[in-house]
């Protein structure tokens, strides 16, 4: 199941990785996809890979494959900032489970990718380390929150990137940057060692140029972890070779178009990508069926209530006592004032807004009308998806209503930004797997993709339909001029 390493022209992994770093050092200053680079460790791992390749002994499934890692994942001995001033000097003394599994599989970690602070945002402009720009047009955002991950793969710095997707943070930047973005079912990949945002929604996702690669990596790092009780032990595989072999034959495969999504107001380039994708699937024998998700218009408020409530609770741990940002304090200060000062200095505006919203909706007098109500709606929305998947194998949907936004498009209007998550958040609320496949560039040269959604643990169906679309559009052949 090995992944083909094709970076650079060198013959050894060390020479390829050396070349990758030269490229990053030369070109990333304008894109800003990396927060930190792990050159020394990466070259040491590359030398290990070369040894194993040479002896042909113990060659591992991800041998020599280069990765960028969103700065949400703990990598032992390297800064893990979550894009925040709060954690700007935090060096974890352990690896996240998914990082350990990558290392054991022979992967090469190039460095940590830029992101919105604590993964809160959809433009990557909320990073303490500055916005990550879109490699296709530097006046546009890379998307978010995993913007650096998407940009580093689109710019051909990293072969694969790890991101996190709480409400669309893998699928949306993939759409903006023209890469594959794959979010497996909730619980597929361990969250141990991943900075928490909203624990019932957070899921590790994968960026790649080719659909198959994302699924192969997911297969390698997924599975039960005793350190995360929410990891699943489903026997259904993510990477199913049968899906690969039969991808061009969709006879008997039913694809749903969601009435509410099709009625939504989207740009003409997004509508075009949907039309082309529908036709491509149809041409390969798929049957197109209309399905309904009548509550989907309530997805954004339900999502933001749940996500901010969980975030307010998760982020209460940052007090500047044992780790994290500590303000200059005077000895007369009370402990309460001390916590308040550390947090007020350490968190940026979006994080503060979400903590406040979360604590508002959890506070007495509001919890019934807001948080509990959102959780009830969550059950009803999931039921609607289950009903749809009783009729279809996968759903085809837009990822967002537009291609990549211009920088600073939402200044001062966070609600407008939230509403852009319309097509992605209900997938997280329902724990479903989702996949972005790039389709084509629009008239301004920005990529546009589409989203495929399947029922829980039915990733193999996404792989099959995703490969069909990839075969039609072959977007991986296009590269931005960086």
């Amino acid at each position: 199941m090995n992944i083909n390493i094709d970076e650079g022209s060198g013959t050894s992994v060390v020479s390829k990785i050396t070349e990758v770093f030269s490229k990053i050092e030369e070109k990333d200053s304008s894109i800003n996809s990396f927060i930190s680079l792990h050159k020394e460790d990466a070259l040491a791992s590359a030398a290990e890979s070369d040894k194993r390749f040479k002896s042909q002994e113990d060659v591992r499934p991800l041998e020599g494959v280069s990765f960028s890692i969103k700065d949400m994942f703990c990598v032992k001995g390297h800064k893990t900032t979550a894009g925040s001033k709060m954690l700007k000097d935090f060096v974890p003394p352990y690896d996240a489970t998914v990082i350990k599994r990558l290392k054991d599989a022979g992967a090469i970690i190039l460095g940590k990718a830029n992101q919105d602070e604590f993964a809160m945002g959809s433009t990557n402009e909320m990073s303490y380390f500055g916005a990550c720009k879109n490699p296709w047009n530097l006046k546009h955002v890379a998307g978010g929150s995993s913007g650096g991950s998407a940009a580093s793969v689109a710019a051909r710095f990293a072969k694969i990137s790890l991101g996190t997707d709480t409400g669309g943070s893998v699928r949306q930047p993939a759409h903006f940057c023209g890469t594959v973005g794959f979010k497996p079912t909730y619980g597929r990949v361990s969250r141990y060692g991943v900075v928490s945002f909203a624990s019932s929604l957070d899921q590790t996702g994968f960026f790649s140029l080719k659909v198959e690669d994302a699924f192969k990596v997911a297969q390698v790092v997924s599975g039960k972890d005793t350190f995360d009780q929410t990891t699943s032990s489903s026997e259904k595989v993510i990477y199913d070779s049968n899906s690969v072999d039969t991808a061009q034959d969709l006879k008997g495969f039913k694809v749903g178009l969601v009435k509410e999504f099709m009625d939504a107001d989207v740009d003409s380039d997004v509508a075009k990508a949907m039309e082309l994708s529908k036709n491509a699937l149809k041409a390969r024998g798929a049957e197109i069926v209309e399905v309904e998700l009548p509550l989907v218009e309530h997805g954004v408020p339900a999502y933001y209530l749940i996500a901010t409530s969980e975030a307010a609770s998760n982020l209460s741990r940052y007090d500047g006592v044992r780790y994290g940002h500590r303000a200059d304090v005077n000895t007369d200060m009370s402990l309460e004032e001390f916590y308040t000062l550390n947090r007020s200095e350490g968190f940026g505006p979006e994080v503060k807004r979400r903590i406040l919203l979360g604590n508002f909706s959890l506070s007495s007098g509001y919890i019934e009308a807001f948080y509990r109500k959102a959780c009830q709606l969550r059950r009803l929305m999931r039921e609607d998806y289950f009903k749809a998947f009783a009729k279809v194998d996968a759903i085809l949907a837009p990822v967002a209503s537009t291609a990549a936004f211009k920088l600073n498009a939402f200044e001062g209007d966070p609600l407008k930004k939230f509403l852009n998550d319309y097509f992605t958040v209900t997938v997280n609320l329902s724990g479903l797997p989702g996949l972005t496949v790039p389709v084509q560039k629009n008239e301004s040269g920005l990529p546009v993709g589409v989203q495929l959604i399947a029922n829980q643990f039915e990733e193999a169906k996404l792989l099959k339909a995703g490969l069909s679309l990839e075969d039609e559009f072959k977007f991986y052949e296009e590269a931005p001029d960086v």
Binding site: H298, R326, P414
Partner: protein
Amino acid sequence: MINEDVLKKVCTLSRLRLLEAESAEMLDQMSRIIAHFDKLKEVSTEGVEPLYTAVEMKNVWREDEVFQLTTPKSLMKLAPDEQEGQVKVPQVVK
């Protein structure tokens, strides 16, 4: 719904302090967001059990085993202020 007093209370609960200028903008933004949240009231959810996690799972048990993940020393290295192996904070008992 939300007003200056409620925002102040929520700031206290959140251990966050806003500057005066930030406070006005935050109140305006939060008001608009909460008004949008309020639309959920339009849907009847009577008798619906809230769903807290989307993938059904059972409680997981395992043996309680001791193992060394890391050392106290490496954890103490993360502390912003430390004295004799203890994390230092402002005086708690006056």
